[in-house]
């Protein structure tokens, strides 16, 4: 009897509770320390108001999360908010009917969306050419240079002067190897993102036509002379054993944190693991090619952004808008930036972090921001976009691996990557 009445009262209360609080699902791909940041932000938001409950759900790696979202959309079960990595941006932008632009969600929700408050380099990448913000930049990063100070010292290099240009990196790397300070001079994660896409932006050369694909269907230009020169240099270093290849994504980080390699280029988001390894590290800007005109220009953002899926109720959109508004708040952005190593998306958060003295205590944390916002971006440096960027990167990785194995020259590798890549783009746009 008692149980029954409890049951009944439970049922009586539940619809009321469900009505009072709108649930917002957020699928993400964050692990480790970054996952804790997600939980904390969602928890704090839920505690800050009583109308909406944001429920973060971990869905695996970036590609897995994207696939899960796509499969769910096809089954009519899409989440409200979905975290999509930079590479998937083109895919999402092509899915007009599946998403709602974040700019629209914010204004419809009664919030003013002032673009000037956001870091232009980041927001520009997630906007249409007309300037409408399509997704909310949640975690952005940029590639930087890490170096092992102990190895530098052993090799007789200046510990306080990280190499600025690629020529200096090659020289330092050779010295590290020859002096026996380490078995490997230089390694890099993401040859596609760092040495192809960011290399183009940072040295102000074109990655592809149509403003690197931002203004229309791109045609790859990565077989240009500067790319050929750069990759041939890497191939030569690989042959000498000075450059060690770690893998297609961030595997090479281990070659650096284990003390095998003296210099590493990696995402600023990889800082946490470098710190955790306990090595005596230093940070420098991403090196540039001194023969390139106007270099260094600016680097482009990697990381991920939050997309709002279509077909939800007005209440949900209002909740999403409230949540994004909360996310843009200075304290939240500052917390995100300092905890995760990702970049703040608003100017105010950047200024506040600066004022707090965080950068004096953590030199190097400002480097990616300085790289990204040093100069007004040109049409070569706003980022790259293609309907099938993951596939293009796959193709490039395959050709680079064959080059590093000595099966082909840099010129052949890049020519193949362009031919195969352009064919894949034509196929993807249905031409």
């Amino acid at each position: 009897m008692k149980l029954t009445s409890l049951w009944l009262s439970g049922f009586a209360v539940m619809p009321f509770a469900a009505h009072a609080q709108v649930e917002i699902s957020w699928w993400h791909a964050m692990t480790g320390a970054n996952a804790e940041v997600v939980e904390k932000i969602a928890g704090d938001f839920n505690a800050s108001q009583s109308d909406y409950v944001v429920k973060p759900v971990f869905k695996g790696t970036y590609p897995e999360t994207l696939n899960a979202g796509i499969a769910a959309f096809r089954a009519g079960q899409a989440p409200d908010i979905m975290q999509v990595f930079d590479v998937g941006t083109g895919v999402m932008m092509g899915a007009g009917g599946a998403i709602v632009p974040v700019g629209k969600v914010l204004t419809d929700g009664g919030f003013t969306f002032d673009k000037s408050q956001y870091l232009p380099g980041i927001v520009g990448y997630y906007s249409t050419p007309e300037g409408e913000m399509l997704s909310f930049p949640y975690n952005s990063s940029s590639p930087i240079l890490y170096y092992n100070k102990d190895i530098f010292e052993k090799a007789g290099l200046d510990v306080d002067a990280p190499p600025q240009t690629w020529a200096e990196v090659w020289a330092a790397a050779r010295k590290i190897k020859e002096s026996g300070a380490a078995t490997c001079g230089y390694t890099s994660t993401w040859l596609t993102w760092i040495h192809t896409e960011n290399f183009a932006a940072w040295n102000n050369v074109s990655w592809a036509t149509n403003e690197n694909g931002l203004a229309g269907t791109p045609e790859l230009k990565i077989d240009g002379p500067l790319f050929v020169k750069h990759f041939q240099e890497i191939a030569d270093l690989a042959k000498e054993g000075v450059f060690v290849y770690g893998g297609r994504t961030s595997e090479a980080k281990q070659n650096f944190t284990s003390g095998e390699c003296g210099i590493l280029t990696e995402s600023s988001g990889g800082l946490g693991d470098v710190v955790k390894s306990g090595i005596n590290y230093g940070i420098g800007k991403l090196p540039y090619d001194e023969t390139a005109e106007g270099a260094p220009q600016n680097t482009t953002p990697g990381g991920a952004s939050l997309w709002v899926m279509a077909g939800k109720s007005d209440e949900v959109y209002k909740g999403v808008a409230t949540f994004f508004n909360y996310l843009s708040q200075t304290e939240v952005q500052q917390f995100l930036h300092e905890q995760s190593g990702y970049l703040p998306v608003t100017m105010a958060a950047y200024e506040a972090t600066k004022a707090s003295g965080f950068y004096e205590q953590n030199p190097g944390r400002e480097t990616p921001l300085l790289q990204m916002s040093g100069k007004a971006p040109t049409e070569n440096s706003k980022g790259v976009r293609a309907p099938n960027l993951p596939q293009l990167r796959d193709i490039q990785n395959e050709e680079y691996e064959k080059m590093l194995a000595g099966q082909q020259t840099a010129e052949e590798a890049l020519k193949n990557a362009v031919t195969r890549g352009n064919a894949a783009i034509r196929e993807a746009v249905g031409g």
């Binding site: 590609p63 696939n67 796509i70 959309f73 096809r74 895919v91 092509g94 899915a95 007009g96 009917g97 599946a98 060690v244 290849y245 770690g246 893998g247 297609r248 281990q254 070659n255 284990s258 095998e260 099938n388 993951p390 596939q391 796959d394 990785n397 395959e398 050709e399 691996e401 064959k402 590093l404 194995a405 099966q407 894949a424 196929e427 993807a428 249905g430």
Partner: protein, 293 residues
């Protein structure tokens, strides 16, 4: 042959229903979906889809990458179908000879089977990572420039080794059972006739194991074609270049990484036909030579 007549009409169907239902839901339905998808050109979100007939198949079959995957699959599958069998048979015969601690050896041999495919892949990846692998170091000391990250042959050796290691247990288990079923009297008779152990093995034991060997051949082929996905995904990701991209891996990569559903579905349909053909051939031509005792 006597024809059995069941008195009930519905009971057999009722008893079969669960199995039929499982087959319908988990095989025929997805297979039908794959057929449908293979004739469509669709964006990843399924917002627009056009019927393109056999265009996807034509493109897949004219793609040099697909022919490469086919070659890789043939090499990989042959190695993974036969090497575990050979090693397992050798080990099973040796384990039979032992008089003390037989159970312990057998248990140890069967253990790797309990390891999940992806974890097995990670184990081998870590042991043979050119930078920090415990077993890569001695290889380098021997003067071998071991680098599965860039050397296609090394990568192939590594995935074959991992897939083989994982499958030896299963093969071992069946060979041990098969060996125990062979009547001792036959071997004793051979010994009395003066046959050497080697001779007795090839003329008596091996032929009598034929049903087991045939069964394992079918199982290993299916394993090599499908279940090794986790190992390849964890160890090489199909690289370097496309050196270890098998047909199944390409289905996954084109569908779920490159989001090209049509091509991916067409490939899985082709793969299904290949497996049906392969199994039919195995049963039609090889099974005829198997003696079931």
């Amino acid at each position: 042959m006597r024809r059995t007549v069941f008195p009930h009409k519905f009971l057999p169907w009722l008893l079969l229903a669960p199995q039929l239902l499982v087959t319908l839901i988990f095989f025929y339905w997805p297979a039908g979906q794959a057929f449908r998808q293979s004739m469509l050109k669709e964006d990843p979100f399924g917002l627009s889809s056009t019927f393109v007939g056999l265009a996807n198949f034509r493109r897949v079959l004219s793609d040099p990458g697909y022919l490469n995957a086919l070659q890789v699959t043939v090499v990989f599958s042959l190695l993974v179908a036969f090497i575990p069998m050979a090693i397992a048979l050798f080990l099973a015969v040796q384990a039979e000879k032992i008089t003390r601690g037989k159970g312990l050896y057998r248990t140890l041999m069967i253990w790797p089977y309990a390891v999940a495919t992806a974890i097995a892949g990670m184990l081998w990846l870590f042991m043979f990572n050119p930078s920090f692998g415990t077993l890569a170091w001695p290889l380098k000391q021997l003067g071998i420039n071991w680098n599965p990250l860039l050397n296609p042959n090394h990568a192939m050796i590594l995935v074959v080794a991992a897939a083989t290691w994982k499958q030896i247990s299963y093969n071992f288990l069946f060979f041990v059972a098969g060996l125990q079923a062979i009547p001792h009297s036959l071997l004793e008779a051979a010994a009395i006739d003066g046959a050497s152990r080697r001779h007795a093995f090839w003329t008596i034991v091996f032929p009598l194991l034929a049903p087991t060997t045939f069964f394992l051949l079918v199982v290993n082929t299916v394993y090599a074609l499908f279940d090794t996905f986790g190992i390849i995904h964890a160890v090489t990701g199909g690289g370097p270049g496309k050196a270890t991209e098998t047909l199944v891996y390409k289905v996954y990569n084109d569908g779920f990484v490159n989001l090209n559903m049509g091509d991916s579905a067409a490939q899985s349909v082709i793969l299904m036909l290949i497996v049906i053909a392969l199994t039919a051939v195995q049963f039609r031509y090889i099974e005829r030579r198997v003696h079931y005792g």
